[in-house]
């Protein structure tokens, strides 16, 4: 199929010319094949002696002439000029028609109708108006044979039919060419538009990529900035805390009750500021992928006792209870990062404390299944509206972010808890009902001693 197409296609820059030349090639191929079939048929007929042997030689010579003509026209069409080849082909066809049959058959009989072929083909192979040229030529041949050879009155209806055919052929070919030209114009416009859109898209993509790079760079700078600022803030804060503790401890002499009260406020606020700075630093390190989890053996009861020691007084000072329960199926020695687990527990307990006015905060440790253990912190506080549950784990997001909000903090506590849980290959689940309370559950994989030292 590909070979056939390669044989028929003629490379030409002008699409009309290419179409004309391809059409001519198809016609020539068709004629060649029909001649071959006819030859085969006649040869078979000759062998079976269905026709007279003396006619055979002229049939072979005629066929040979047709083949030579086809090949010559094909070569001119392919390598030289389509118009010349088509003209030559149509002229040859007309001449064969004019002299290939008895004169009477040509002007009155079976061959007369055959002149329609070159007339119709001319508008398709050359240009629409060319059919008139071949109608004229065919008419002249018919008149000449009628007057000179046969001395009869020319076949006027036949000649008129030539011109009617030429007219119909001209009209249809012309409209076909117009449609094709319009199509090509539309196509070119479309190509141009596609090219323009592609260019616009490429430019937009490039701008997006640049914007993305700038954002990434900004994000990196932000993390670096936060990390640097946090480090720089922690040292003076440590000094403030230290000196305050020294004053309270009486290193520089006894303080009055009022001075001690003031020192308590200094210590309390320095602690708060330090926690915020630590949270910012942790968030920056998590974002920069610098915060690592260090797995080692730890005592679960010590972890929970530490939480009670850190948070117990605060919880009780608000008139609440801190209840802790460790399920008997939880082994005393566990594997994980006790420092970060403590941070998770403190953050969640702090969060519960912030939003609970009466009742209790309950911390439970239990195995939800054979491969996991869970830390569950539940409170009897205000609860979290359904629509807020989706964003409370986003950094710097708070349920109430209005200027009149009652609760303090920068909104990093839960975000850090979630990210730490994920760094430990665990997950956090929140269940809450407004006015009833909230339960946060951290589900973590149970690790064995061979995980020690893993990040």
């Amino acid at each position: 199929m590909i070979y056939l197409r390669r044989l028929l296609d003629v490379p030409s820059k002008d699409p009309d010319d290419a179409r004309h030349r391809k059409l001519l090639n198809i016609l020539l191929t068709g004629i060649g094949i029909i001649t071959l079939i006819a030859l085969l048929f006649i040869t078979v007929a000759n062998i079976t002696q269905a026709i007279e042997p003396e006619d055979i030689a002229s049939v072979y010579w005629g066929s040979l002439a047709i083949f030579v003509g086809v090949i010559v026209v094909f070569a001119i069409n392919r390598y030289w000029s389509g118009d010349l080849a088509s003209t030559l082909f149509l002229l040859l066809l007309t001449i064969v028609l004019a002299f290939g049959d008895e004169p009477l058959q040509v002007v009155e009989g079976r061959t007369l109708i055959m002149f329609a072929a070159p007339i119709l083909m001319a508008s398709v192979l050359l240009r629409p108006a060319a059919s008139f040229v071949f109608a004229t030529l065919s008419s002249l041949i018919v008149i000449w044979i009628s007057r000179v050879t046969l001395n009869i009155f020319p076949n006027i209806p036949g000649i008129l039919t030539f011109f009617v055919l030429a007219l119909v052929s001209w009209l249809s070919s012309r409209s076909l060419e117009n449609v094709l030209r319009d199509l090509r114009t539309v196509n070119a416009e479309l190509d141009q538009r596609v090219e323009m859109r592609t260019r616009e898209l490429t430019e937009a993509n490039q701008q997006l990529a640049e914007a993305n790079d700038r954002l990434k760079e900004l994000d990196r700078l932000k993390s670096k900035f936060v990390s640097m600022v946090s480090h720089e803030l922690r040292t003076p804060l440590n000094a403030i805390q230290g000196f305050a503790e020294m004053l309270v401890a009486g290193v520089y002499g006894r303080l009055s009750a009022q001075q001690e009260g003031a020192m308590d406020r200094i210590t309390f606020n320095a602690d708060r500021l330090l926690r915020i700075v630590s949270d910012l630093l942790d968030q920056a390190r998590i974002e920069a992928g610098e915060l690592a989890i260090h797995v080692k053996a730890f005592s679960i009861s010590e972890l929970i006792d530490d939480l009670s020691a850190t948070m117990g007084i605060l919880v009780e000072s608000k008139g609440l209870k801190l209840i802790t329960e460790i399920d008997y199926r939880i082994p005393e020695i566990m594997h994980g990062d006790p420092h970060r687990l403590h941070q998770i527990l403190v953050n969640l307990t702090n969060n519960a404390l912030k939003f609970t006015e009466k009742g209790a905060i309950t911390v439970k440790v239990y195995p939800p299944d054979a491969d996991h253990w869970a830390l569950e912190i539940s409170d009897t506080g205000v609860g979290i509206p359904q629509e807020a549950q989706s964003f409370i784990f986003q950094p710097f997001q708070q349920v109430d972010s209005s200027p009149t909000r009652e609760h303090q903090g920068v909104g990093l506590g839960l975000a850090i808890v979630k990210q730490l849980a994920e760094l430990m290959n665990g997950e956090i689940i929140v269940e809450s009902e407004v006015e009833k309370g909230s339960t946060f559950t951290i589900v973590l994989p149970l690790l064995t001693p061979h995980h020690e030292g893993e990040n």
């Binding site: 922690r234 040292t235 440590n238 000094a239 805390q241 230290g242 000196f243 503790e245 290193v251 330090l274």
Partner: protein, 122 residues
């Protein structure tokens, strides 16, 4: 009886004062050193009972000072308390130190620790 010597190797003067006061208050004699190379020179001539060591100090890193202490037979009984804000670095040298404290370090916390250390020497 002579007071036991404690080195506070810390370049932040306020923090050095706090650490030093915590050690003084439980009966150590203290010396504040700001530079790593000075610390090595001091360690060549005297053997402190306790060293509070910041890891980020000028001229010679705290890790090098720790390496020096651990490589010298004379200093084998020195108790080294690392005081740093760098959790990752602290983790990596945890085994070489007697104690690792992550900044912020409270005066009371260090005083309690120093008191405990003091009783082990007596």
């Amino acid at each position: 009886m002579n007071k036991q010597l404690a080195f506070v190797i810390e370049d932040e003067p306020d923090l050095a004062t706090i650490f030093s006061e915590a050690l003084l208050s439980v009966g150590f004699e203290t010396k504040i050193i700001t530079f790593g190379d000075v610390a090595i020179k001091e360690l060549e001539t005297s053997v402190p009972a306790v060293v509070v060591l910041d890891l980020h100090i000028p001229r010679l890193a705290g890790t090098e000072v720790l390496k020096y202490i651990r490589s010298d037979e004379r200093l084998k009984d020195v108790k080294v308390i690392i005081a740093t804000a760098d959790a990752a670095l602290a983790e990596s040298i945890e085994k070489k130190a007697d104690l690792v404290l992550l900044k912020p370090i409270s005066f009371l916390q260090l005083r309690t620790l120093a008191e405990r250390l003091k009783t082990t020497f007596e």
